[in-house]
Amino acid sequence: MKVIENVSRRKFLKQFGIGSGALVLAVNFPEISFMPKALASGAATKFEPSVYVHINSDNTVGIVVHRSEMGQGIRTSIPMIVADELEADWQQVQVIQGLGDKKYGSQNTDGSRSVRRFYQPLREAGATARTMLEQAAASQWQVPANECYAKENHIIHKPSGKKASFGSLVAIAATLPVPEAKTLVLKDKKDFKFIGKSNVALVDGHDIATGNTTYGFDVDLPDMEYVVIARPPVLASKLGRFDASKAKKIKGVVDVVALDNIEEPPLFKPLGGVAIIATNSWAAMQGREALEIEWINSGHEVYNSDTYKAALAASCDKADTVLRKKGNVDKALASAEKVLAAEYYVPELIHAPMEPPAATAHYHDGIFDIWACTQTPQSAQGTVAQLLKVEPEKVNINVTLLGGGFGRKSKPDFVVEAALMSKLRGKPVKVLWTREDEIKNGYYHAVSYQKLKAGISQNNEVTAWQHNVALPTIGATFSKGANVIGSEANLGLIDMPYDIANVQCAAGKAEAHTRIGWLRSVTNINQAFAVCSFADELANQAGADPKDHLIKLIGSDRQIDLAQENAKYGNYGEELSRYPIDTARLKAVVERVAKLAKWQEKRPKGKALGIAVHRSFVSYVACIAEVSEAASGKVKVDKVWFSVDCGTAVNPERIRSQMEGAAVFGLSLTFFGELTAKDGVIEQSNFHDYPMARITDTPETIVDIVESEHPPGGVGEPGVPPVAPAITNAIFALTGKRYRELPLVKQGIV
């Protein structure tokens, strides 16, 4: 298929804002519904940011991307949706990155939400503009509007063949009333030019290939100072005595400043510490090396990974927060013919985006101008405003490209640091985090311990399912002392989809000793690992084929209503009526991936398959891994197959790339990912002791996307959860050894 590259937009990459003399369609996005209103052309100068499309008299089309680009391809997918409905010529499209502003609706680019939440409103925005341009042409030509149609940036009068460019119609269109959303005629699926196709080249592809990009690290302002910060090595430890005399002697170091200590809960507040201000990054880092600092204990020094693990295991046995309860698990287990029990452990993990956090701020005239690789510009704006006591309107957040996010850049602590430092210095300041900072002072994926038990009847029916978990909660980051999980339960624990008569899911208590955050797919990582591994253990116990047994476990076609089972299920913020837990769709991806991987065919000696399926972010992903064992006993993942049902597939090319990435991300955490704490300090520091998958580890990945009329689901995260269990299930099939603890590198098999 021919790939269309948008050449014209290269000129506009760094342009924020809109030109005057444009037809501006401002669209407010209260998440789903929206009410467009035309602004008079003069109103464009009265800048009121919102998600919009505008058309310039030079025939160019400006499309605002209000979500952050971190590799998921949203700067390509959003313009595709709008341009398709508008019938825009892709060459005329200018992509404009939206500033942080609540008028856009949610800009919080996490939770795999961008297309899921904005598909419909973006289509309506494009259709509104197209309809008004048709009406403008009709009025100019004195013909009925229904005789006019849009094609490639022009309106054409069907009977006469008359043609006018979008640009030539701007002046008239701007005077017309905006049609109501319900009167809009959206395009028929068969007429889509971009949606559902893979024919548009990445909007930023050329700039990336030529190094002409601006990430958070790359922002450069005149007279800018560079800052690195020595942060407390243990959460909330306080700054004691420090000696900066050697640091200040380093060439390029301008000043050394003590920052305020952090009070718990950490929220998105700066961690405090000692800031080194320098004329370049290297000098700042050297300055930090030369500092001598004493820290005053906070109490989190009690955190040691080995003893903590034992405490979590004990906490699983005392799990008294019941999160889902169906039937009577205790009774069913007691009366079962057999009981299968297993324990799973997944350690603390960190995001490690290739670009660590970085933000640049310029405080001037009571205003903060900020450039940052943030996933959530409004949260950055709000947090800076709150902590530095200014109006949010005086905080301008420019979103750069993100060199990866994975959830780390949803936390704007680093943005606040930059704002604080610029105010302190009265100058533009860039705060950059080194890799060591990123690993040692992160918002971590929680370490978790899980205990599962299943009751099995004489004829190998599973009659009871008990799942107890213990892990420190994200809640502790926001509320001091929180020690029981909350929304984490929604992510692969209580939504276990098997058809079992007696089910109980419960959580034990766990104190947090680091900032707990969220990492790509969050607790789906550990919970799907346990659930999908245990399903495989049940199949083995029954002497059944793992795929057939999985289908049997899922049971009849139905929509699961967890409210009937004393569970409060969040469903990723979506209505269950629109996005049900649909077991038919779950089984369908299992069958499809099995067919794709030729599950039934015997593998040559030394190779085996493992399967896992998981619904998350309202999408369904089944995964098969093929592993092989070398003579050395080392295991390698050779191939990964995915079948993905993410509802309407808007940009299949980027869906495929997200699954390819999920295979590698999942492989990294299965093979290598582990952080450990000693006396409250994270022991790892860089890629040598927190390694990740390299090209030599990478399997071939084959992706099947289900053609679907369902509303769009998430894509960025749902590929990750089934990967680890698919791999360990395959290793079991190959070697007969069951690995219930990650990462595998500790077992000496990778």
Binding site: E69, T210, G252, W282, L401, G661, V664, N686
Partner: protein, 157 residues
Amino acid sequence: MITLNVNGKAHQYDDDENMPILWALRDILKYTGTKYGCGKGLCGACTVHLNGQPIRSCATPVSAVGDQKITTIEGLSEKGDHPVQQAWQALNVPQCGYCQSGQIMSAVALLENNPKPDDEQIDMAMSGNICRCGTYERIRKAIHLASDLAIEVKGGK
């Protein structure tokens, strides 16, 4: 004072000679296409060419470079049409894109030494470059494509 030769241009440099060339390029000379990822030569994001050979600029001080020829991503081609750059775009290799300058510089060096590498040779040559987004499989494919494109350009087919 040192004269740094970057992408065929001479730059006067009078900062710290112990500064890794990465930071000299980025902060002093403003070539920001070369990226920081680890500072320890572990991830390859900072890969540039020194006399045509790939080096980790984060672990190479200015003093070790002197006036030798440095090539960064910005100097790879005038119009962004080096066969490797073309292949990267044709296959939509990047996700976040941050590591890709380094990936591309490693790939170019590989193809200069070995115009027709197989998968294993690609894996060996590229194993020093981490991509957290996981674009490795497309990198492999793009190197094969770039190899074909380069051979076509040279009329070798």
